[in-house]
Amino acid sequence: MTALDLASTPSKGISWKAVRLTFGALLLLAGVSVLIHCLSSHETAALALGIILGALGGAAMFESTAESTLIPAAAVTLSLIPFGLFIAVVAGKDPFHAFYLLYAGSFAKWFTFQETLTYAAPLMLTGLCTALPMRVGLVIIGGEGALVMGALMSGGVGHFAQIHGASNGMIVFWMLLAASATGAFWIALAGALKHYRGVNETISSLLLIYIGVALMNHIVEGPWRDPASLNKPSTWSVLTPDGDYLLGGIHFGSFTMDVHWGLIIGFVVCLLCWILMNHTTFGFAAQVVGGNMRAAKVVGLSVGKVILITCALAGAAAGLAGGIEVAAVQGTVNATIVAGYGYTGILVAFLARQNPLAIIPVAILLGGINASNNLLQSEMGLPDATVRVLQGLIFLVILASESYYGKLKFFKKSEAVRA
């Protein structure tokens, strides 16, 4: 009797599938009742909570999604326990108040949820910069460099397009195109060094960050400096004639949001990357290259092409984040573009287990933690490092939870799927 046979022997005492279904149904029920309560009492504070519970419950009821959603969700919830201890013991404050503020500052109100989404927007794109190369087996951590270079080029190209009288829409188009192309080139460099010269891509992409930041500083403080920017060297600003951002807030008809279009762009790019990586022959080829490069060569895949294209796509995503930052937030390029979105993107990619679609909720979760930083500091007087402690704990618990995939009976696949 092989191990596989053993595992698939139907259990006598308990049907794990039934347990899972019951659990999912209960979660779903809880979520729906919270939602009904919210809608009937016009108290929207717990709306997000209801949605999250409901979604988890729904996911738990399907075999294909249960494991990949419930394990990370349980890990995130579990990480609240050491975090609560940390608040109580190290900071000497009330952990339950901190939990409440974590929720209140991120998802409880429309205002705070928009804040969460604002923080999440760049993380979706920088997360892709690490997640995509992982598919071909490369660990690229240089998203920050691609972002900075993309921002720099978008500032220059935007200014050039503006003085040549392009319309606002066309300026944005050229800016984002330039940003993506520059970012793509930047990470493709690391990919090419790896493929042609065998240089470790993690190190080279890290070093490319320093080069990018130094280059950006040099150009912003030198050749491209707007002479009017006295105490904060910046490039010429690229704004509409009324002084507004070229890429403004999201609005559909009468619905407006205090979040820029970068969120929608990030959403769409994540979705497209997911389709590319999970549902096309290119994605399959990337998976083969990532799984076993020699085998990929043997079956006739052009490994170099797959690696370079994937790296270029990854860099394009991070570069795009930089271009959006210039067009929608800063309106110019200066040293503040180096804000660490690229580094947080590494965390996002790992938490999402390199799945482009999972990057969306993970970016929103981390955006929410960032957003609640305000309340944790101002209401409880906790230091700003508190949210970073929580992020670190979540990261650790998620990594530890990786070992449970495929081992919990709770998620046991039914016979039909196994066969």
């Binding site: 005492g13 308990i14 409440y100 205090d258 309106g331 305000n374």
Partner: protein, 380 residues
């Protein structure tokens, strides 16, 4: 799959459910409590770009906030390490919407454009105070007010102390970027030193950014190796620079806040902000409903900047020279930038007979380093 397994599984589920219920139940109980305790003093939000305890720029602002917090009816909410991105816009909004702040102090230079400029028009009943920005009445919202101080007066006096105390005649200055504010401090420091010892020179190193502790430590070490014996700086946090100077047994002058605790032996004096003066006058205007001036600037005589107490290494002769200059500054008679003045490439930058008082806007566009400074205003 025996009965014991089943039992323990249910116990785990029960424990997990209980834990979840406690977490959410606790959270909701607090939500209710937080709502109940809703009394309203004037809430003022302070936002800092770095740590509140950096012995520098942010600490100086936070000390002003602390003095405000001691006044009756004032509640202070603070956020530190807020980058100059959309994060500061969201922090301002959060302080207004969630903490009920009626006034915001955005204390970093880079918060001004575009962040304060974009947020202020959305909240016309909230006052926005910004450190260092230039208010433009034709473009900027009516609820924006900017404040700053003429700290080069302190730098000039610190220069006198440094120039008189130095034995090697070589001073060191570690600066972030070659921008007008910084160049003005380097020049004032050097001119103060050369007013008591004309052969003194100042070696400048630009680190490229406002908070680069490792680069600052490297620069300090290399300057000390070149023979300088008084070190000062214009970066956000002088901590590592003062500590390096003390460790290597040379003298130092502080910047932004009193750094004597970091260098008890070698600390000569320092240039400090005293923002509470401006903060309190703003608060008085808000509470009395008076119109707040859009641009507030002040020097030593206005109590906006001050010197650190002299350290043990400062001689009585030196103290006397410094006190004489301080008296001039306290009367508002100290004119630092007057002709004839040459820059360090030999070009005349201020003609003979011409002088600029502290408030002169010409000084805010300074783009040269004066004679006696070793370094380039281009920063290369």
């Amino acid at each position: 799959m025996t009965r014991t397994l089943k039992k323990s599984w249910w116990m785990r589920v029960a424990a997990a459910t209980a834990a979840a219920l406690t977490i959410f139940g606790g959270a909701f109980a607090y939500q209710r409590e937080a709502r109940a305790a809703d009394n309203k003093p004037i809430t003022i939000g302070f936002i800092y770009v770095g740590s509140k305890s950096d012995y520098g720029y942010n600490q100086a602002q936070a000390e002003g906030a602390k003095e405000l917090a001691m006044l009756p009816g004032v509640k202070i909410v603070e956020n530190e390490n807020v980058p100059e991105t959309v994060a500061v816009q969201k922090t301002m909004q959060s302080m207004i919407e969630l903490n009920g702040a009626g006034a915001i102090f955005a204390t970093s230079y880079g918060y001004f454009d575009p962040h304060v400029k974009k947020t202020a028009p959305k909240y016309s009943s909230v006052d926005f105070f910004h450190c260092g920005g230039a208010y433009d009445a034709s473009k900027d919202a009516k609820n924006i007010y900017t404040y700053f101080g003429y700290i080069d007066e302190c730098e000039y006096i610190a220069g006198i102390v440094a120039g008189k105390t130095s034995k090697s005649g070589k001073l060191g200055f570690i600066a972030a970027k070659p921008i007008p504010q910084v160049l003005r401090n380097i020049n004032a420091f050097t001119m103060g030193a050369r007013s008591v010892n004309p052969s003194v020179t100042t070696n400048v190193v630009f680190t490229g950014d406002w908070f680069m502790p490792t680069k600052e430590a490297d620069a300090a070490t290399s300057l000390i190796d070149q023979g300088i014996d008084v070190l000062t700086c214009h970066v956000d946090s002088p901590k590592v620079i003062l500590e390096t100077a003390e460790k290597r047994g040379i003298y130092c002058c502080g910047y932004h806040a009193n750094g004597s605790a970091l260098a008890p032996k070698g600390y000569l004096t320092g240039s400090e902000w005293h923002w509470a003066t401006i903060f309190k006058s703003y608060l008085a205007d808000i509470q009395s409903g008076k119109e707040i001036p859009h641009t507030t600037r002040g020097g030593m005589k206005d109590g906006v900047v001050q010197m650190s107490p002299y350290g043990p290494a400062v001689s009585d002769d030196t103290k006397k020279l410094a006190e004489d200059a301080k008296k001039m500054a306290m009367m508002g008679d100290l004119v630092i930038f007057k002709g004839p003045l040459k820059d360090n490439t030999g070009k005349t930058v201020i003609d003979a007979g011409k002088s600029y008082v502290q408030t002169d806007p010409v000084l805010e566009g300074m783009n040269y380093l004066v004679d006696g400074v070793v370094g380039s205003a281009g920063g290369k």
